[in-house]
Symmetry: D3
Subunit: 186 residues, 6 copies
């Protein structure tokens, strides 16, 4: 599994959640997590979460760090959602490690009661994907600036480190499941 951190600003408009975006953009032929920073403005046709559509929610942030995860090993919805939750927990752990306490509710993190993150996961016939976004700055929602992590260096470290941690977690799981005997039965 490969982690790609984009060096330049890159805006998220929701089309990046499409299957094969990572291959099409960067030629990567592994499972991947692509990390970038830029504005976020999800167009209605790319909204995966029907709740957002129904409620005409805007998913908007002037400055957001985005993580785009893609796995081709399964198209099981249950699996991508378990992975998405696990990723959310990894982000929370990283933030705690750098001194920022947040609370997790499902796939959302809250900073002092304000929603810090957005996330969605789904599948196509060929892959499973998740998007996870963290506001760097925001007028209404929680954001990394308020958490004291808004400067270039901190944001950059967060992008690198969280991407790397997810890859490590994935590879660790792949190794663990290759040394476990099947269950006995009562």
């Amino acid at each position: 599994m490969k982690c790609i951190v984009l060096p330049e600003k890159f805006d998220y408009d929701g089309s990046q959640i499409s299957s094969l975006w990572a291959y099409n953009s960067f030629g990567v032929q592994e499972d991947s997590i692509v990390v970038f920073r830029g504005s976020c403005d999800v167009k209605i046709e790319h909204m995966i979460d029907l709740e957002d559509r129904r409620e005409n929610e805007s998913i908007w942030s002037e400055d957001m760090v985005s993580f785009i995860i893609e796995h081709f090993d399964s198209t099981d919805l249950k699996l991508v959602y378990a992975r998405q939750r696990l990723f959310t927990a990894i982000v929370r752990e990283y933030l705690a490690d750098v001194g920022v306490q947040t609370t997790r509710e499902g796939d959302d993190l809250f900073l002092k009661g304000k929603k810090l993150t957005v996330s969605i996961a789904s599948t196509s016939a060929v892959s499973q994907k998740a998007h996870f976004g963290i506001n760097v700055s925001h007028d209404v929602y929680g954001n990394l600036e308020e958490a004291g992590l808004g400067d270039e260096e901190n944001v950059s470290r967060l992008m690198q480190e969280i991407g790397a941690r997810y890859v490590r977690e994935f590879e660790d799981i792949e190794k663990d499941l290759r040394k476990s005997r099947p269950l006995g039965v009562v």
Copy 2:
């Protein structure tokens, strides 16, 4: 999904990881998490982790809280491992919420550098299961007493609360995946 917390002491010898143990013992016909407290002494024939077998590891604790998770919705190894990792993160979150900082490495939690927990996950032809154990007291390894959570009330609350959180997480995921559109494709 059902959470069952056993009111009496119950010792873990590894046979509880077998498929259908919860049905056989408690008649439960849902996915379940069973929580109990007692000694832990895993017999060699119940060791699922071949690494432990190969290294002739003893999995022993005089006083341990055990969580036994069983799902029948899939027998995918990848899924049960993702769920096990997520469960581990949930335990860490609970501990942090009650003021105890630990570090997570895969499915292990460490308290001041000492291993606090044991865990394994696997599948049979009919279900997937995970065991997660937290030492209440231990001569060598990390334990809840050292963390200041060893008294009856704290242990009891931890058992109830972590069990309930996992059920909530599972049910939240099941709801989320029922409102997500399939991915578009590049």
Copy 3:
């Protein structure tokens, strides 16, 4: 699993077979069976059965009871077709219980040699669905009026009862599969 019986007339144009229609329309985040009554006129772009398309079949009824089943636990075509056949058998059983004998051929029921019902099943990347329609009145095909079940009360009871029976069957299966040991092997 939830059964929703719509209190008002609702026309079926085939778009209701789309994945997530139940969530989008009623906010339901469980597997579901939605039952309603109204005219049926399936537009060509919503025809799932290619045989109908090829033969330029019209799927039309001035008054039909429709059942829309959606499951998110699997996207296996074989499973949704087995469930569709089972549902057809449940409808037949209900009709027999209220004194109306029909014959079943696959997913079709016949009343005195005339086709009484229409049905289709398929999957998307996120869910599996089936539609099952029973004519209340029809110039050509079999219908509930001819069966002596065309009055408001009988139609209403049929909608409630068949919906409830399918939910009961599904939940009964989910319980049964949680108490069965894996097979031995010769």
Copy 4:
């Protein structure tokens, strides 16, 4: 899919539910339904239903018709249970067609309030199987004799016909799923 009706008496002791029994006994290398008649006395080690084991239930009949279904196309528990329920409905339909009214509750048929049948389904790592037994005669339970179908000719016809109907149903499903377009999405 192949239907094999054994010409001689054959007793069911539960070992026939094991995977690959049909291949081992008859060399059949297709999905199959094997039908035979004889006594039924299931040994404890072959009891698949843990409820029977827990309640020390005896599964015994001096004269029973048995259907043994095996599919290798999937090891999904949900699928084999849906198929088992569908098979039960097929048996009920056959009995109704020859003038015997029964009621179905899940995988059980009742004749005048008395349980007429036994059934179980499960999977191994290589196949899925179901057993369905109908008492020909019995001191306590419902049976074909009481239904007026106990003579040689009727039993023999029932064995042939139900086996053939299940094969037809299975093949009909396999054809139907090969002409259905994927679902659209809301």
Copy 5:
């Protein structure tokens, strides 16, 4: 599984890789391999391989033999790719049997260092498909004429024989997997 060899010229424009094309065109309701000969000119919207799209590759041949394989028994990408590679090996074996040595690299065959074939595989929500094309004549790429197999009779035999071999291989596999016991475990 059915093999259909089209008697008339038929041009490949890429739309034939769509799911259900075989049913829609020929009414076949089995897994199938359809074989035909004609020009090949794949439109951009039917290009499945994103590498070709990205590189603006033209997939063009004035005279090509095409094999279109469709299976409905699984929508697993790994399986259709294993089958595609196996099919490629079958083609190579056939060519060797008629005296033409080629080399295989993944899903490509080379004749005297020139690419002789094109191939792609993928899945939808309802089926898995592969296309495999062999140039009969070509200005740039390897082709059957250069191999001395370009005359009507040789091309016709190749179409019949390779189609039949794949069906045989598939059916042989289906039989073999119905006589294998599950693995033991260390």
Copy 6:
């Protein structure tokens, strides 16, 4: 995926087909192909192919090269059989490349009409495995000595090269399926 060629003689008694043998013996936590040379004498309890058991076949060779493939990415029988056939084709290709013509029938290779190889594949709840053996010398069956490849150097090269080719094929497939768009639909 890892290829391990054992430097010392190692006898095959059939127990090596068990899941997790590679981990237990060599600590490998990847999908793997283990290659070794030694006598072959499969004990009845390790016979996976029931045909061999039924016919009381002996699987015996005084000197055989064995390939043991294990994948943990799926427990689908259809997939491991497709991979086994592909592996067989790879062996044939290698032999052709070093000047030895064989014919393939399913998972068997024949040298001048004599069976040169043995093979079996199956799954457990946690992995899928295949064994493929090539006689180096044999009184009755085809063997590498007769093919002029029986000397130490040729056998050693064959072991290295075929193992490496399978790893390459597997990795090539994994890359290819990460650049293919889902199929359109008619």
